[in-house]
Amino acid sequence: MLRVQSLNTEYPNDKGGVVKAAQDVSFEVPEGKLFTLLGPSGCGKTTTLRSIAGLEKPTSGEIDLDGQVIYSSSKGVFVAPNKRNFGMVFQSYAIWPHMNVYQNTVFPLEVGKKKISKTDMRDRVMRVLNAVALDHLADREATKLSGGQQQRLALARALVMEPRLLLLDEPLSNLDAKLRERMRFELKRLQRELKLTTIYVTHDQSEALALSHEIAVMNEGRVVQIGAPRDIYERPKNKFVADFVGTTNFIDAKVLDVDAGGGQCKVSTRIGDMTVACESGTSRNDMILVSVRPEDVELSDAPLSPDTEYNVCSGMVDAKVFLGEYLDFQVKVGDTMVLAKGHPSLRTPVGDPIHMRMKTDKCIAIPADGRA
């Protein structure tokens, strides 16, 4: 179990100021789980990862792994990165161009403290090369590998030392789209098989959703929400998370009534009164935002009758885009624009009226700006 507590990392910028790259970052990663740091570039996710690696020296906080403190500002502990036994895959892969595949992979064993016999080294390297399907290329120059092969070599090199923790810094971002998707499954399979505690850094939300046991969404150096992929997607806690992870509609709303038991409240919006899912602590007359994912907006030609489970409203088709698997609709309700995904069979022309319904538990109340 990896525990990161109130971690702060800062570094001087070019102009002599201080960049607060990670602020008060705390999370826990249970043994064998894959934990993702997700956020836009400059949000501090890579700095956090490098602080765990020891490549960046934090200014305060504490990091421990399975009870062993590897960094603590209060206890004055800082274990050097080459003593931590963490495997790391860099975004650029950092494959050493002057060595071949085998030499790259065996390096961590050669420089390690433990003395290993040559034959053992060979066995271990070939086993891990086998696992990433590079065993037939062991003697190839590292620079002659394709992008995907380099990525797997970087992974093999990180795995060969049997690390206590695996750190992956945007490992798929340099691959083309098709390859990225294949490697995503590959990576997931490998991690699940080896049951290796893993921290994964990415700015790609679909990658994060596909791979992780748990995700921490970061923004401006802080963790804004931690949760399972489904939670993050379906129950975003604030506007940033809802906006960054997937596409969504934001509708300004005012709370009319709070339902005591079911975590629901009635709100008034410019597209009509709605029943939405809300956090405890919401009270009457609060100004909030309602977030509804486009795929949760059901469209219909025929008028829909109100229902306790659904919010219903009507509008006019403003624009639509045919994308093969589905249609993107822009529906105008009064002067509010609502995005919706429609089945390709829906043929309502632009300018015609259209009717929508949204499941009440898919309409999420989140704090309006300034209360994040």
């Binding site: 490549l55 960046e56 080459n82 931590r84 975004q91 650029s92 961590p108 970087a154």
Partner: protein, 582 residues
């Protein structure tokens, strides 16, 4: 309408084959190409030709002979000359490279304290002219008057002579120190372009600082080190000041000093000097050739990839004080001690070693003396004229050459590149020799004037100008020019209004560099000057020959101070330009 447009175009097309007007574009290009070809090829051809001739005297005309090569290659001296030259150059290159590599690694890759200061300081030696550096080291480490020796003698009471610059190892020491800043710059560039995550991943693999330095950093820098070694080797084998001042007095001869001796005896053996020069040319050509091959093959090691993250520096622990101390000692040896000893001697009536008694007799007389020499004003004027003129002409001509090489599809343009770079293989002394020989034989009235030196300087520094211009030319997108053409600008207007302004930062940097090296130039000038056309470096040389050490020091101190301020000014202007252009 469409018809009218069509007619307009067809008219244009018709015009081309019939009415060929001499476009100013072709005049400018033609002049530049001819200039470059003339400068680069003529001396080479003449040098080779001359090496097959007997000396011409008033009574006997020159005859074809192989005697020069026989003397140059078959005498017993030859093997020794070659052996000494190569040993000297190898030693210098290895020493400078080791020093430069370590300093560059320390500065770019470790957490040694005060690094940014070190980088600025490490560039200062570049402004110290070679001859002054050698003279200063004679004052520091000659067996008789060397300060360092005297310290060991008097203060520590030993009665042996620990340092002797008048020896092969002394020569290697002085020249190696002098070239180490160059090695430092070359290796700094190599370390900077290296992806830091290559080292970080070794760190995460559990490697120690020294394992990383040895197994990753050094291996990755290897091609750059070999290329730098070749450059340094060529520089060392063609260097003149150290062999002339330190080697000749004790009979250690290398190619450059042998060429100088052959010419400076009576009657001068120009043929013999030429055959030595041809040999030297072959060695430097081989060095430059291998170096260019190596740069061409370095793609395999192109290591800049991925995102730019602030490189993490290796934590040296308590070793970082050792590296800082190393730099301080280095700086003292390369800048502080040489400059201080010159400064000291420039404040004395007669040269004497620093003592309390001598401290009483500080005087500004040497400065007064040197400035009252009639040759002083002449040589300062000549140096300024030559440096400014050379820098300006070289940068302008090579900007056109760079444009042809980078932006056009003219067949054979690579030849123009090689032609302009050809003078790189000429040691200064050899270039001086061949230009001297040519204009002695082709009397167009410039022999013995300042113009012959101008030609030598332009030829010698042309390759540097081309490098500066090529680098910045490659960064100018073709479309910038094309849009100027579409706006209706002619080629010369485009060149003047679009290309030159965009090249400005590179032009300025190259201009300043060439100006500085022109002022320092000695080895070509030494065969070409005559009374009235002395330059400052020649004046220093003559003062040394006459034993006027205090005046020499005064002139040296003024020259170093001047060059230092030029560089400071250049950096200041460069920063302002950089900001304005960005």
């Amino acid at each position: 309408m469409a018809e009218a447009v069509g007619r307009y175009y067809s008219q244009q097309d018709d015009e081309k084959p019939t009415g060929f007007r001499l476009d100013p574009k072709w005049i400018i290009i033609g002049v530049c190409v001819v200039t470059v070809a003339w400068l680069a090829l003529v001396p080479l051809v003449f040098l080779v030709w001359q090496s097959f001739l007997t000396p011409q005297t008033a009574s006997v005309a020159a005859q074809y002979t192989l005697e020069n090569y026989r003397t140059a290659y078959l005498s017993a001296e030859t093997a020794r000359l070659l052996f000494t030259s190569v040993r000297y150059a190898l030693g210098t290159a290895v020493f400078a490279l080791a020093l430069g590599t370590f300093l560059a690694w320390m500065n770019e890759r470790t957490n040694t304290p005060f690094k940014s200061l070190f980088f600025a300081l490490a560039l200062i030696p570049l402004v110290i002219p070679g001859i002054l550096f050698v003279v200063a080291w004679i004052m520091l480490a000659s067996p008789k008057i060397g300060l360092l020796n005297l310290i060991v003698h008097r203060w520590l009471g030993f009665d042996f002579v620990p340092f002797n610059v008048y020896s092969l190892s002394g020569m290697i020491w002085v020249d190696g120190l002098h070239y180490s800043p160059m090695a430092f710059l070359l290796l700094t560039a190599a370390f900077r372009s290296m992806d830091p995550s290559l080292e970080e991943s070794a760190m995460m693999s559990g490697a120690s600082v020294w394992q990383i330095a040895y197994r990753i950093t050094l291996r990755l820098a290897w091609p750059a080190m070999v290329a730098s070694f070749l450059i340094l080797f060529v520089r060392a084998i063609e260097s003149f000041e150290v062999p002339a001042l330190l080697g000749l007095p004790v009979g250690i001869e290398v190619y450059t000093s042998s060429i100088y001796l052959a010419i400076n005896q009576y009657p001068s053996k120009i043929g013999l000097a030429s055959s030595y020069a041809v040999t030297l040319l072959l060695i430097t050509s081989a060095g430059i050739y291998f170096q260019s091959i190596l740069s061409g093959h370095s793609n395999r090691y192109t290591t800049v990839t991925g995102k730019g993250f602030r490189p993490r520096q290796l934590d040296l622990g308590k070793w970082r004080y050792a590296t800082a101390a190393f730099f301080i000692v280095y700086f003292m040896l390369v800048v502080l001690l040489p400059f201080l000893v010159l400064l000291w001697s420039s404040l004395q009536k007669y040269y004497s070693v620093p003592t309390l008694a001598a401290l009483q007799h500080l005087t500004l007389d040497p400065y007064r003396h040197i400035m009252s020499y009639p040759a002083f004003l002449t040589s300062v004027k000549n140096s300024l004229f030559l440096s400014v003129g050379t820098a300006t002409l070289v940068m302008l001509v090579t900007s056109v050459i760079a444009w042809i090489v980078v932006k056009t599809k003219i067949p054979g343009r690579w030849m123009l590149d090689s032609l302009t770079s050809l003078p790189l293989v000429f040691p200064g002394l050899v270039l001086g020799l061949s230009i001297m020989v040519f204009y002695l034989n082709v009397p167009i009235g410039i022999y013995g004037t300042i113009w012959i030196m101008f030609i030598a300087y332009v030829t010698r520094f042309m390759p540097y100008g081309l490098r500066y211009n090529l680098t910045s030319m490659m960064q100018i997108h073709k479309e910038l020019e094309e849009s100027a053409a579409m706006s209706g600008a002619s080629w010369s207007l485009t060149f003047r209004r679009i290309i030159l302004p965009l090249l400005k930062p590179g032009l300025l940097a190259g201009w300043i560099y060439i100006m500085i090296v022109s002022i320092r130039e000695l080895s070509s000038s030494i065969l070409l000057y005559s009374p009235g056309s002395e330059v400052v470096s020649i004046m220093i040389w003559e003062l040394w020959q006459n034993g006027q050490y205090v005046e020499l020091s005064a002139l040296g101190v003024m020259l170093i101070t001047f060059l230092f301020f030029v560089v400071m000014l250049a950096q200041y202007v460069g920063k302002k330009f950089g900001v304005a252009d960005a």
